[in-house]
Symmetry: C2
Subunit: 450 residues, 2 copies
């Protein structure tokens, strides 16, 4: 097996890469490869060398020197250059040039390393098929949870286990906003504006605050963890826009914090197996390992049938952490001494063996639930709400009516239910639909089991 022995340094070719996209992450990757150059060569068994780059504007002022690298205007041309082993795709966007160039790279025998969660969530299966057919690596550690090696954690660390569930905090913007609201008592809109000022939220924050970014990441983790085809389309997603300061105060009084939780599990077996994936704000008990996760930090819990509960935590975004994940993927590829022979399937098992699980219908799932209504302050409102609960078989554990939070006549009614089927809560809300006692949509947040 001499082809597998560790080569003497300098005896073999560098791993030659091209980088598409030179924003903060692209610049971070170049800075990291420069700063830790010798260390990376020692660990990878050979140097990793940037050969060519591509970005929107060649003349833009950048924090790193790109003059040593060849320039390509066209990303797909970059992808199929004969002098590269791997393309690093840091452009983003689920379709368009990123996808075209990624296909071009894999089709022309190059490996692909990407931080593009939207592309993997939408086209991960097709890209994995392409990679497997060509015997080239496709890696996307940086697409999920920034610098936390959680794709590796699930693909390889828990590979011996049937996972019972995967869940966690996958969006740093939402976690920053929720933990700031907790800290300051400020309301959502104000905290979002502050987060935008500090760079923790985008000018258009929709993808983050509506939970779509977390849903992209969850669909990737679920595919790896459960051996299922990536199914972004069936993630049930609720964002954090409806969460008020009053909800956070109420949760705190009950011993909880509020976190946007992405969670996936499988129910049933064999042909009856169904995948449940959802992203929603949850009440998390203060002694749960996800409660002390503050600011833009991410954390993922994986529960295996032999490993038990594992927690991976760290920075969920930022140029340094994301570059760390990108270059870890490159080192994995460089360590195999074939031209670009990183081993094993991108989603842990071959694409052809990933199960096409239909989406699970969660109505029968048992949950404790926090429900908050905004109502007109007038007689009979509480009677109307509690009657709807009774008629839908929802058992109330505690109920609090708070004084007028805002100017006007609106008051808040918050309750926690006993454990019961989810469908009953939905039935109760259906019964109240259109009631002129309610001044807005009720907010429903499950209590995350410990």
């Amino acid at each position: 097996m001499s082809e597998n022995s560790i080569p003497a340094p300098g005896r073999i070719e560098p791993l030659r890469i091209a980088i598409a996209g030179l924003g903060t992450v692209g610049a971070g990757v170049i800075r990291l490869l420069n700063t830790n150059h010798d260390l990376i060569a020692a660990r990878a068994g050979r140097p990793i060398e940037v050969v060519a780059v591509c970005a929107r504007d060649r003349t833009q002022q950048r924090s790193v020197d790109i003059t040593p690298f060849a320039w390509e205007d066209d990303m797909s041309a970059l992808a199929s250059r004969p002098d590269i082993d791997v393309m690093v795709e840091l452009v983003g966007g689920s379709d368009g040039p990123a996808l075209a160039a990624s296909r071009a790279a894999l089709s022309s025998g190059k490996g692909l390393v990407t931080a593009n969660k939207a592309m993997i969530a939408h086209h991960g299966l097709a890209l994995a098929e392409l990679a497997e057919a060509g015997g080239v690596p496709l890696k996307f550690e940086a697409a999920v949870a920034g610098g936390i090696p959680v794709v590796k954690g699930l693909r390889e660390g828990t590979s011996a286990n049937a996972l019972t569930k995967v869940y966690g905090i996958l969006n740093g913007t939402c976690n920053y906003i929720l933990s700031e609201m907790e800290e300051t008592g400020a309301d959502f809109a104000e905290t979002l504006a502050e987060a935008q000022k500090l760079g923790y939220a985008e000018a258009d924050p929709t993808f983050d605050i509506e939970g779509i970014d977390a849903a992209h990441k969850l669909s990737i983790l679920a595919a790896i963890g459960f051996g299922a085809r990536v199914d972004f389309g069936s993630v049930r997603t609720t964002g954090i826009v409806q969460v008020r300061a009053a909800d956070i105060a109420q949760a705190d009084a009950l011993g909880f914090v509020i976190r946007l939780i992405a969670q996936a599990d499988v129910e049933g077996e064999g042909a009856d197996a169904r995948l449940l994936q959802r992203v929603r704000p949850c009440l998390v008990a203060k002694d749960h390992p996800l409660a002390p996760v503050y600011g833009p930090t991410n954390a993922v819990v994986a529960e295996g049938n032999f490993s038990g509960r594992l927690l991976f935590q760290g920075a969920g975004a930022g140029d340094g952490p994301t570059a760390s994940a990108v270059v870890a993927d490159l080192i994995d590829i460089a360590r195999t001494h074939g031209k670009s022979g990183e081993v094993g399937a991108p989603f842990s098992m071959p694409a052809a063996q990933l199960a096409a699980l239909g989406p699970a219908e969660p109505g029968h799932r048992m949950e404790r639930t926090y429900i908050r209504f905004t109502v007109n302050d007038r007689p009979g409102v509480l009677a109307e709400i509690t009657a709807a609960m009774r008629d839908a078989d929802v058992s109330i554990e505690s109920l609090i009516q708070q004084g007028r939070a805002n100017e006007g006549t609106e008051v808040l009614v918050a309750m926690v239910t006993h454990e019961g089927p989810e469908r009953c809560v939905r039935q109760a809300l259906d019964l109240l639909e259109g009631s002129d006692s309610l001044t807005g949509e009720p907010l429903v947040m499950p209590i995350l089991p410990n």
Copy 2:
């Protein structure tokens, strides 16, 4: 690159393994391979098959059926059987039969997967050299922190980073005892006895409670994280035997919990680089990620120059989690389609490139420190202690003298120092050495920086 493409299921040979040692972990590995058989074959690209086993007593009643496997009385004979690809060593002990058989396996072209932290801490470098020379894999995920993929996390997950430090909770027995003392207010001896009754502590608990087990694990993580030769001999180790219920109460009042922390970092560069490794009980602020780690759980923090702070947490022991780590290593090996060609060096970089770092002398390190004296209750004792502190330039932040904790005339004096060089605290204690005011050794615990 057709040799790297994902093979169709069933087209290739199983990975054939031998298991040495059939205690709880060995039985756990067999149970795991049976329970998750199909899943493992899908992820590994081929089945993993137990061919032969070896243990002390063939006739012993076991929780798993070993009749399908060939039996060997001699472990080294098992190791060199021509019909195996990998030996799994679960016998334990740093030397003796485990080491002989491990050498035999690697020398005869077999891969080695081991859970044996003592053997890797003492002989890891020599075994890695043997593995690299033969081009065969040597893997030991299960040797550190049970089911947590932290060897992989450091070897591959943070491979792009220069680590600034690695630290964590690496001994489940100590963490169980300390968090039980915290919970119940009971003293050390009583809690240890309870832990022994519940199976959380061995009949002879020395290796655990003196910090030696944590030191074994730390030396392995430090070697991987810092690219250094494993140097168990220079780990400075203090156990938890001296920690009293009163210390835990005192720490609690100050906003801390007590945890046995294993920590390593490198100071200086190039030829001046020195490795500091130590295991000692520390005060951990209640909002530090290691504070809410209770019971037999382990947790490791790695701080990289690009990744930032990463946390890995999970079950630190037990047959299920340990088997999960052993089989993850086997899947990694099986995924490479060579006979036993897992790629990359066992300690992340080739053994020949691991630096022989001398041990760092920590006297100049700045720390805040908790110091607890047990003293005779008589006039002048406080003056004597505080004078020694003054003379050694130790600045006291707070000082509490507690009433008589035990029968007799012994009282406790606890203080927290301002940040200052460690050597000053040692000088102060040297000045007090032999004083007949003190009734026992003072207990010194640093405050872990947040």
